[in-house]
Amino acid sequence: MSLTPLHAIFALMSLFTVGGAVGVVLNRNLIYAAMYLVLSLFGIAGLFILLEAPFLAAVQILVYVGAISVLITITVMVTRCVFCKEPPPRQLTLVAVMAALVMVTLGFVIMTRFGGLTPAADVPADSIEQLGVAFVNPQAYLVPFEVASILLLGALIGAIFIARDDLPRDEEAVGGDDHA
């Protein structure tokens, strides 16, 4: 097996991904942990590009890096919990052994079942168009797509309702529409 520039890029992106994940898990300063999370998510976007899914890479950066991680960062800042005392972890050894066991099992399955597999075929040139068509095709993903949009709407309203500050405290303020 000859090493190509692709392998170097893969190694770099994997380093970002796994190194970032280590940083997230082990860093006690939550802002740093959030920044490591961003690094890890960028690594994933890079791996998506290597897997010839540029659309997903862009969406990964847009959704995960541009929205989700920003939200997490702001929550860390707003809850002023960057340096708040986190009690020391309990059962560290047990958890570490468990995670290592899961890793060994997964690694074993991957190596025996999928070791050395190379792509079956080339990615069709119109894969992004296929993706778009599948979203609105009733035979394919139209219903899940609509359900996902309703889920997002529900999450939007729910998040606003839960996080808002000026919830009515007394019966008077609730308003008279739906008195049972």
Partner: protein
């Protein structure tokens, strides 16, 4: 070309780190971040399998897109809960949130 198991091993490593983080961290925000790691590992697996086993069917990418949508919903509601809890209890450690425990 990079063999499939490289991608799968990176994803497995990321998943296990996320699992480790979920179990070991006490801060709710940190737990949420670890869950994001696990979701991303799953996404990487989905896309890698799509590319190597069935690039002519779009299903793998499609599932990854749905994971994005669900993750966005999960994080927004989760963080709203965390902010609300912080406002009421001044604390975001999972071990101390035991109001419903007896």
């Amino acid at each position: 070309m990079i063999p499939l198991h490289w991608f799968l091993l990176v994803a497995a490593g990321m998943f296990c780190l996320g699992l480790f983080g979920v179990l070991i961290r006490r801060n709710v925000v940190a737990i949420l971040m670890s869950i994001e790691l696990m979701l991303n590992a799953v996404n990487l697996n989905l896309v890698a399998f799509w590319r190597y086993l069935a690039p002519e069917h779009i299903n793998g990418q499609m599932f990854a897109v749905f994971v994005f949508a669900v993750a966005a919903a999960e994080v927004s509601v989760g963080l709203a809960l965390i902010i609300s809890i912080y406002r009421n209890r001044d604390d975001v450690n999972a071990g101390d949130l035991n109001l419903l425990k007896w």
